[in-house]
């Protein structure tokens, strides 16, 4: 049997994942005077999709935007991330977003690298600009330092694989210590748990490199653990049926298309979109923000490929752009370009749409960041009814941290989380993976999942018959995986857990995609080819009840 650390770790607030949301939650929870622990899969100094930097922080800056928040609220709703937001949450976020900017600036993350507050990128001509341009190259080490300064206990190399509940309330979690080759399960007793494990990559085949599991725009270590553990614990997920795709350089999957100050062009040098003729740092080409599928459409029409051309950008703006890419954490790409002689002043770089991944699809939270399970909170990319990327993670992480701490303060003592049947059940499953001599490894399982997701719950076509058949195949695969998967050490066992989490997310995608009988965005249903105005403001939630999935429709707030 897998080793279980007999001594449970007690903490008032347990934070699952030490990314932007997790560390901001930790800092604010610790400021409330409670004991806080962050359990992190890698090392909080460099983990998650913000590992080496980011550059855009969505926010309402009163001194730039004026006293009226409403035009900014409207702008966010109309922006590239705007479709799946509860207004109530967006407003609360906007009201507090600039306070978090000031925090970061005071801690040493450069929120005004040019010396003044400047919003640039993803900007529409004649409309308010809402993305504060910052230099996040040191954001993770700084937030780690601030958390430690406040006494937060950070346990690295220990992903949380399940939360433990009792009578609908959170009482702890199961962690997998991967510091040594032999895995050890660590049981946490906690009064509040905050899930903040980032996005979910690796659910669909990598669009640039279907044979590579790690060529993904967002961190491939983020695999929907928050959504999966929440779902297993009975929490509601929302908006899972809507695919989301990012775009960027081909074939090197990397976020940050908005950092490129250039014009999208066809191979003959003809401008593709109508928005900008001369790109500047203030107004780059927003064609891809408006026309999400432009790169795919150009390719499939035979008129492609589509490129970004920075050769007509002013030398000052090119310098600015290259510097900003360092702040965004794109240093390996810049080094590679340098070594390969790729010069944005002389070359056009092809862009593409990447595979769907989960960001802003997942756990439904209230205005305190809490799910429908008492004591279970979520923040950042795995939240399904609110999204604002880095800024959303920072601000709602902060909010969840405070709420979780306040809840913990009202609870006397700890429940014996280690005695719940879940611990034995999960340890048996993990042990079975470790004890088998032969069988598929996590890679095989991951690829097998990806091909089912692509063909039966993909972005080209979904229908009642395809989704029903796909769900059958998915269940066949899941059963086989549970019966035959093998792991040889703590690292590969962790990867096995990731694939199981991705499968949990996949199941909810199949079910909700079948439930939404219309075509909307990238949810394309040829059997319901219309976009139904009656469903425009309606969301599907899914949760497990007595072991079975249960879906409900609710109005967007």
């Amino acid at each position: 049997m897998i080793r279980i650390d007999k001594k449970p770790l007690e903490t008032d607030v347990l934070i699952v994942g030490g990314g932007i949301a997790g560390l901001m939650a930790a800092i604010n929870a610790a400021d409330q005077g409670v004991h806080v622990t962050v359990a992190e899969k890698a090392n909080t100094k460099r983990s998650g999709s913000g590992a080496t930097g980011n550059d855009h922080f969505l926010c309402y800056v009163p001194e730039l935007h004026g006293d009226d928040i409403e035009p900014i609220h409207t702008e966010v709703k109309n922006s590239l991330i705007g479709g799946y937001l509860d207004s109530t949450h967006t407003l609360k976020f906007l009201e507090q977003s600039f306070d978090r900017v000031r925090d970061w600036e005071s801690w040493g993350i450069s929120m005004k690298p040019t010396g003044k507050w400047q919003c640039m990128g993803h900007a529409f001509p004649g409309r308010p600009r809402v993305w504060l341009k910052y230099d996040g190259h040191n954001q993770k080490p700084v937030l780690t330092r601030e958390a430690k300064k406040r006494g937060v206990k950070i346990i690295n190399h220990t992903p949380i694989v399940d939360v433990i509940t009792d009578n609908g309330k959170v009482i702890g979690a199961i962690g997998l210590d991967i510091n040594k080759d032999e895995p050890t399960l660590k049981i946490f007793r906690a009064k509040s748990v905050i899930l903040a494990t980032g996005s979910a990559s690796r659910l669909y085949p990598s669009a640039p490199s279907p044979g590579c599991l790690s060529n993904t725009a967002f961190n491939p270590s983020c695999t929907g653990a928050a959504q999966a553990t929440a779902y297993r614990a009975g929490a509601k997920l929302v908006n899972m049926e809507f695919p989301n795709r990012h775009a960027g350089p081909k074939f090197m999957a990397r976020c940050g298309k908005s950092s490129w100050i250039g014009i999208y062009k066809d191979p003959k040098g003809k401008t593709i979109g109508p928005f900008v003729k001369k790109p500047t740092r203030e107004l780059g080409d927003i064609t891809a923000d408006v026309w999400n599928s432009v790169f795919t459409d150009m390719l499939e029409s035979g008129r492609g490929p589509a490129y970004i051309d920075c050769s007509e950008t002013s030398p000052e703006d090119v310098e600015y752009m290259l510097k900003a890419m360092v702040g965004e954490g794109l240093t390996s790409m810049l080094k590679y370009m340098d070594e390969e002689g790729i010069d944005v002043r002389k070359h056009m770089v092809e862009f593409m749409q990447y595979e769907p991944h989960l960001i802003g699809r997942g756990i439904e939270i209230d205005l305190n960041g809490e799910s429908n399970i008492e004591g279970l909170y979520a923040a950042g990319d795995p939240v399904g009814n609110f999204r604002a990327d880095i800024a959303g993670a920072a601000t709602f992480g902060w909010i969840a941290g405070k709420s979780a701490a306040e809840r913990a303060k009202g609870i006397e003592g700890f429940e014996k989380a280690e005695e719940t049947p879940l611990v034995e059940e999960r340890s048996k499953l993990y042990s079975s993976f470790m004890e088998r001599d032969t069988g598929p490894d996590w890679r095989e399982a991951n690829f097998a999942l990806q091909q089912i997701m692509k063909d039966y719950a993909g972005i080209k076509v979904r229908s009642e018959t395809l989704l029903t058949a796909g769900l059958k195949y998915f269940n066949d695969l899941k059963a086989k995986v549970l019966d035959t998967l093998t792991a040889e050490n703590s690292h590969t066992l962790m990867r096995c857990m990731e694939v199981l989490d991705l499968m949990e997310c996949g199941e909810t995608i199949f079910l909700t995609a079948r439930e939404r009988k219309e075509t909307r965005g990238l949810h394309i249903r040829p059997d319901y080819p219309f976009t139904n105005p009656l469903l425009a403001e309606k969301w599907i939630t899914i949760k497990k009840e007595n072991g079975l999935p249960r879906m409900e429709w609710r109005n967007k707030m």
């Binding site: 100094k45 460099r46 080496t52 690295n156 790690s214 050769s311 390996s332 790409m333 080094k335 590679y336």
Partner: protein
């Protein structure tokens, strides 16, 4: 395969292995350079290169991640 450790420069401090978001490295012997145990899992985030105080780390970007580019000096509209 990425990443690559220059053993002449490496002092076996283990920072790369500790901060790698993909757990690509493995410290087998604390007195020696870590081994690159799972190279194909590297995300090329560059954290190991940035955080190595001895400049012992470099990344080799694999062929499937090649960046596609053409000359920009074509006729423009």
């Amino acid at each position: 395969m990425p990443p690559i450790i220059d053993k002449e420069k490496c002092n076996a401090c283990g920072v790369c292995a500790d901060i790698c978001c993909m757990d690509v490295f493995k410290v087998v012997d604390k007195k020696k350079s870590p081994i690159i145990r799972y190279p194909e899992e590297c995300w090329h985030c560059n954290a190991c290169v940035l955080d190595c105080k001895h400049e012992a780390l470099s990344l080799r970007i694999p062929l499937p991640s090649m960046m596609l580019h053409v000359d920009a000096n074509v006729a423009t509209d």
